[in-house]
């Protein structure tokens, strides 16, 4: 069993296979920003409290400051840069949560935004995967979605509004798709 000080890792980031050689103490948050050049992930408190650095590992929200880069070797990571989807015409469309943040003015300084977007997007996508997206989102669900992320500007009112707006958009999408079938 070898004990390493440095490792080369292979990670699928936002659908793209990437490789990086990192000191084993490198936090995932720093590897994303420094080694891979993806500065959408913001580093706030660096001890798991603020939630700004939240990314999806294998589709599940985690704090990237509380994982080592070497731990995602062989896994997939989605950052805020990977939330938008192809519009199948050579362009990109924003995730409903991103669209709703713009619509509802859910950010001011923008520092906490990447963490909120990844967390809420994963939460709403999980709701859809579980077949619960046709049910109206509850206030408790919204609180649980945003409760792990600190925002010092907005007072959360518009962030919660954006959550509900995004959930409603996704609900309408699903209903339309069901009606079309």
């Amino acid at each position: 069993m070898t004990v390493d000080l440095e490792r080369t890792i292979s990670v699928t980031v936002n659908g793209v296979p990437r490789e990086a050689t990192v000191p084993v103490r490198r936090l995932l948050s720093d590897a994303l920003r420094h080694e891979l050049g993806l500065t959408g992930t913001h580093v706030g408190c660096e001890h798991g409290v603020c939630g700004s650095c939240t990314v999806l590992v294998e589709g599940v929200p985690v704090r990237s400051c509380l994982m080592l880069a070497v731990q995602v070797d062989g896994q997939s990571v989605t950052t805020v840069e990977g939330l938008s989807r192809s519009n199948h015409q050579g362009g990109q469309v924003l995730h409903p949560v991103q669209e709703s943040f713009r619509e509802c003015h859910a950010l001011q300084c923008g520092f906490c935004t990447p963490g909120l977007l990844t967390t809420i997007a994963a939460g709403l996508d999980a709701r859809r995967a579980a077949g619960r997206d046709t049910v109206e989102i509850t206030a408790e669900e919204v609180d649980e979605l945003v409760g792990g992320n600190l925002c010092r500007c907005t007072g959360y009112a518009n962030i919660k509004k954006a959550c509900r707006h995004a959930a409603e958009t996704m609900r309408a999408e699903t209903m339309r798709a069901a009606a079309a079938r």
Binding site: M1, T2, V3, D4, L5, R7, P23, V24, R25, L27, D30, E46, H47, G48, G51, T54, V57, V60, P61, V62, R63, C65, L66, M67, L68, V70, Q71, T119, G123, D143, E144, G147, G148
Partner: protein, 294 residues
């Protein structure tokens, strides 16, 4: 806010893990979910020479809910335990307490066993292990051993396990018949460490009279404590029980410290209030379960 340099190994068998822990000596530390360990490293409150990452060990991501209790493997994330209907059916305290562990993103990565091994007296699962009279299974070079919670918790962030060892699972005995549970905490922010918390179990007899009331607290002592509050309510029905008297009894039994966020007196007040509230809920549940079973 960056960890000091360390070496990293990610063994794929328990034997390999014990080997590398043995050869790296005192400075080696096991890494599971890392949701408590990584902040300590980043704040340089801990500086292990080697991290032994157990995330690639096979066979440790299991929840076994049997008649006797629930066994939780070392790689079970809080989120998985929270979602386990089987575990909740055997020992409802597991779900009730886990719902209070930090935020969803932390629960997705942190492990139940890891938070027990971290031995933080403000941790939810340390108290639940104590209240349910649970134990842990530890792999050592001499073979696996079982350690009960009283022996396991030695002090804040300190357990009785020294030398090369990997905790493989935690065992939480089942909730006894005609019993109910409740769990509540007070924190300054949603998902933050509890200023004070309480988990309780109440048991009634066939005549629905209280035979036992026990409580464990968070953030009030150096190690998890379980207090027997039966004498304040024994023989009473749930509706006539003086839960406030049980709260007052508990208040006299604990000896919390004060800190920046709460004085010792305020913590004692919270112990009384949370005890009264949770016991009433647990008592009502005990009666419901007793009536369902009869």
């Amino acid at each position: 806010m960056k960890p000091a340099p360390f070496g990293y190994a990610d063994p794929t068998t328990v034997e390999e893990a014990l080997d590398v822990l043995s050869s790296e000596g005192e400075g080696a530390k096991v890494l599971a979910g890392g949701q408590s360990l990584l902040p300590l490293l980043s704040m340089r409150l801990a500086a292990p020479t080697t991290l032994v990452d157990i995330n690639r060990l096979p066979g440790l991501d299991f929840i076994e809910a049997g008649r006797d209790g629930v066994r939780v493997g070392a790689l079970v994330r809080h989120a998985a335990l929270l979602a386990s209907v089987e575990a909740a059916g055997v020992q409802p305290l597991l779900t009730r307490a886990t719902a209070n562990v930090a935020h969803p993103a932390i629960r997705n990565r942190g492990t139940t066993v890891g938070s027990i091994v971290h031995a933080d007296p403000s941790g939810e699962m340390t108290s639940v292990l104590a209240l349910t009279d649970g134990s842990v299974t530890v792999a050592t070079p001499g073979g696996p051993t079982t350690i009960g919670w009283r022996e396991f918790f030695v002090g804040p962030l300190e357990t009785s396990v020294h030398g090369p060892a990997v905790v493989l699972d935690a065992f939480f005995p089942a909730l006894p018949a005609r019993s109910g549970t409740a769990f509540a905490e007070v924190a300054r922010r949603k998902g933050d460490y509890a200023v004070c918390g309480a988990g309780v179990v109440v048991t009634v007899d066939d005549d629905l009279r209280i035979t036992a009331a026990r409580a464990a607290y968070l953030s009030v002592g150096l190690v998890p404590e379980v207090h027997d509050l039966t004498e304040a309510v024994a023989g009473r029905t749930v509706d006539s029980a003086d839960w406030a008297a049980a709260g007052a009894l508990a208040r006299g039994l604990v000896d919390p410290d004060g800190d920046l966020h709460a004085s010792a007196d305020y913590r004692r007040l919270l112990v009384a209030t949370l005890t009264e509230r949770t016991l009433a809920d647990a008592g009502a549940e005990a009666v419901r379960r007793a009536l369902e079973a009869s």
